[in-house]
């Protein structure tokens, strides 16, 4: 490229002659920009890093600290307390079980709906769609919902926090927008080959919409993993079934149960530290899955939100 046209060079008059000088790569704007965004990113992760430090600190560190608590006496007593006293292993297992079952169930049901609503020429489809969208904004309220769940799955069992939460309408609309991007020609040729709609959905459309499935999977997964509200309502008389999120809420509000076993060193344990340990344990699964889904969800949110 000639220097005259290259945007990286600019013209300068030196001794009556035009000289093309290379532009400086970083301007003041860049410096400010990088600093602002870098600071913001730092603020986003610092609290989590601090929790990590806190969870490995001992009581001596905590008592000596003037400002921040640093784990000079590295130990895992805080984790021991959390794991034994709060019965976190069990809660963790229940959370994993509920999340896996629930996400699987939701994905199947949501993709059935989402695929159906991409069709044209199906009598009554529009009506059904609007009836479903209506439920996004209008509902019966807590009492009747509770009574319905009680009559169908019963309460104080794990089914009651899975079955009634099958489809999130918003997620269904997002997935539908993805399915619409699958070329009609593919679906048409599958149909000519005699494939049933179920087969088309599960062997062609779903694998072709990986980003979409990953996105709503992430939505369902995070929502389920973090949900304490419905477990608090439906499992109120079955504390042994409480999932992780509910345990954390109770733990942070100092509603801890008395646990046995463990053998931790009480002189090294302090409330802030054990709370931090509990939070870190709850964050592990999300942190583990997050990097794998990240490359999909950016695209996913975009297609879901902006219909072109």
């Amino acid at each position: 490229m000639r220097k005259e046209n290259n945007p990286n060079y600019y013209a300068k008059l030196v001794d009556g002659k035009i000289v093309y000088v290379k532009r400086k790569k970083t301007s003041l704007f860049d410096v400010v920009n990088y600093t602002v965004l870098g600071l913001f990113a730092l603020i986003c992760i610092l609290p989590i890093v601090y929790l990590l430090l806190l969870s490995f600190a001992s009581k001596a560190d905590y008592l000596q600290a003037n400002t921040l608590v640093f784990p000079f006496h590295f130990n895992v007593e805080n984790y021991k307390v959390t794991l034994y006293q709060d019965n976190i292993f069990r809660a963790f297992g229940i959370s994993v079980l509920v999340t896996v079952l629930s996400v699987g169930y939701s994905i199947v049901l949501t993709s059935l709906g989402a695929y159906s609503f991409t069709k044209k020429d199906v009598p009554g489809l529009k009506f059904i769609f609007y009836m479903i969208v209506f439920t996004m904004f209008f509902g019966g309220g807590l009492v009747p919902f509770y009574l319905t769940v009680k009559d169908t799955t019963g309460v104080n069992n794990l089914a009651s926090i899975i079955i009634p939460f099958g489809v999130n309408t918003f997620n269904m609309i997002v997935l539908r927008n993805f399915f619409k991007q699958v070329p009609d020609s593919i679906i048409e040729s599958c149909r000519l080959d005699g494939a049933s709609e179920f087969r088309i959905l599960f062997t062609f459309v779903l694998p072709l919409s990986k980003a979409g499935v990953a996105t709503i999977m992430l939505y369902y997964l995070v929502a389920k993993w973090n949900d304490w509200y419905w477990p608090a309502i439906f499992l109120s008389d079955a504390p042994e079934l409480a999932p992780m999120a509910l345990k954390i809420r109770q733990g942070l509000n100092n509603e801890r149960g008395e646990g046995l076993g463990g053998g931790w060193d009480t002189s090294r344990v302090f409330p802030q530290g054990s709370n931090a340990a509990m939070i870190i344990i709850a964050l592990i699964p999300i942190m583990a899955i997050y990097p794998f889904l990240q490359k999909y969800f950016t695209k996913g949110v975009m297609v879901g939100a902006i219909k072109s």
């Binding site: 609290p47 009598p123 019966g140 309220g141 919902f145 179920f198 959905l201 973090n226 950016t298 975009m302």
Partner: protein, 338 residues
């Protein structure tokens, strides 16, 4: 369709009954054809109906069956008799709750929090997205984005606990720093004037990074030739931002703004519930938390239903209004099927 039918009838009156001409028979055909076609469509779509069946069943059982429950707002709830057996009381529940100062307070706080969020939390992601777009180093950009999206995945329960830990009076980091600098320890969480800053800061921390995604997507959809043309015309960086980037993403901003605006009665249950306490209800109690407390703590289920119905109706009006405006601007509405 009606028109055709009338014409057929008129003609039928003109000729003797039972004596249909050839032309008549041809004219009548489309009518029966239509039903046949519809039936054909239904038969052809049978697999789709089969697929929809579980979804429709789910919505009927868990969304439409509970809707009968709105009658609870006009009843005196007696758990023993169920919703249908409970006696009707007319508008008593509404009268009772509208006479209480708590409801007015909750409405006021809901509106204040919504407006603050609209004024402060809404523009930030746009700003950050534009700045991100101006970054050239892909590696740094990726790292920053990864860090920014992270808080979105942390639940409000955890975030609430975190905020309480950081702001605690005797061992919180902030108070430690204040006292190390020789100041007095402050009880932030019990200060009713500090609630809005705390809430907004938490919302910004959690939501800003995630909120940028949609604007980044919108910016990446802008035609690069626009930038090239502007650069050739001598446009500098600031010019590119203000004359191309911002005008091009304005439709998205407008839609997001209207969607937020139509959500004005939802100030967010989770953040408030996990950050407030009894001492600061005056500024912190919102409609959602009031409904929840009426139900879970005061056991006034019917009154709770009444308040929640009131909220839903107001929300619904806002939403329909917002949707109409969005449709005008964009040509499509968020919740349509074409």
């Amino acid at each position: 369709m009606n028109d055709k039918k009338i014409r057929t009838e008129e003609k039928a009156g003109a000729v003797p009954v039972g004596a249909f001409s050839e032309a008549e028979r041809v004219k009548k055909k489309p009518e029966s054809d239509k039903w046949k076609k519809l039936w054909g469509k239904i038969v052809r779509s049978r697999q789709i109906y089969l697929m929809l069946l579980p979804v429709v069943l789910f919505y009927i059982v868990y969304q439409y069956v509970p809707m009968y429950g709105i009658v609870l707002a006009w009843k005196d709830w007696r758990p023993k008799y169920g919703i249908f057996g409970s006696p009707w009381v007319g508008w008593k529940n509404f009268e009772w709750v509208f006479a209480r100062p708590e409801l007015g307070r909750a409405i006021k706080n809901t509106l204040i929090i919504s407006c603050l969020k609209l004024a402060i939390c809404f523009p930030l992601p746009i700003f950050v997205a534009i700045l991100l777009n101006e970054m050239n180093g892909t590696g740094t950009k990726k790292c920053i984005q990864t860090a920014m999206y992270l808080p979105h995945f942390i639940s409000w329960v955890i975030l609430g606990g975190l905020v309480k830990m950081i702001l605690a009076v005797d061992d919180g980091v902030i108070n430690n720093i204040i006292s190390a600098l020789g100041g007095e320890r402050v009880s932030f969480l019990n200060d009713k004037d500090a609630f809005y800053p705390i809430l907004l800061f938490s919302e910004i921390w959690k939501g800003t990074g995630w909120g940028t995604i949609i604007y980044i997507a919108a910016i990446s959809g802008i035609d690069p030739s626009l930038y090239e043309a502007a650069t050739i015309d001598g446009c500098k960086r600031g010019g590119l931002i203000f004359r191309i980037t911002i005008p091009m993403i304005t439709p998205v901003i407008t839609v997001m703004f209207i969607m937020q605006l139509s959500n004005i009665m939802n100030a967010g249950f989770d953040p408030v519930y996990n950050l407030y306490n009894k001492g600061i209800y005056e500024t912190a109690d919102i409609l959602d938390t009031y409904v929840y407390r009426l139900f879970m703590e005061d056991h006034r289920e019917a009154v709770s239903s009444a308040v929640s119905l009131f909220k839903t109706v107001v929300n619904f009006v806002f939403l329909i209004g917002g949707n109409i405006i969005t449709k005008k601007i964009n040509g499509y509405s968020m919740y349509s099927i074409d």
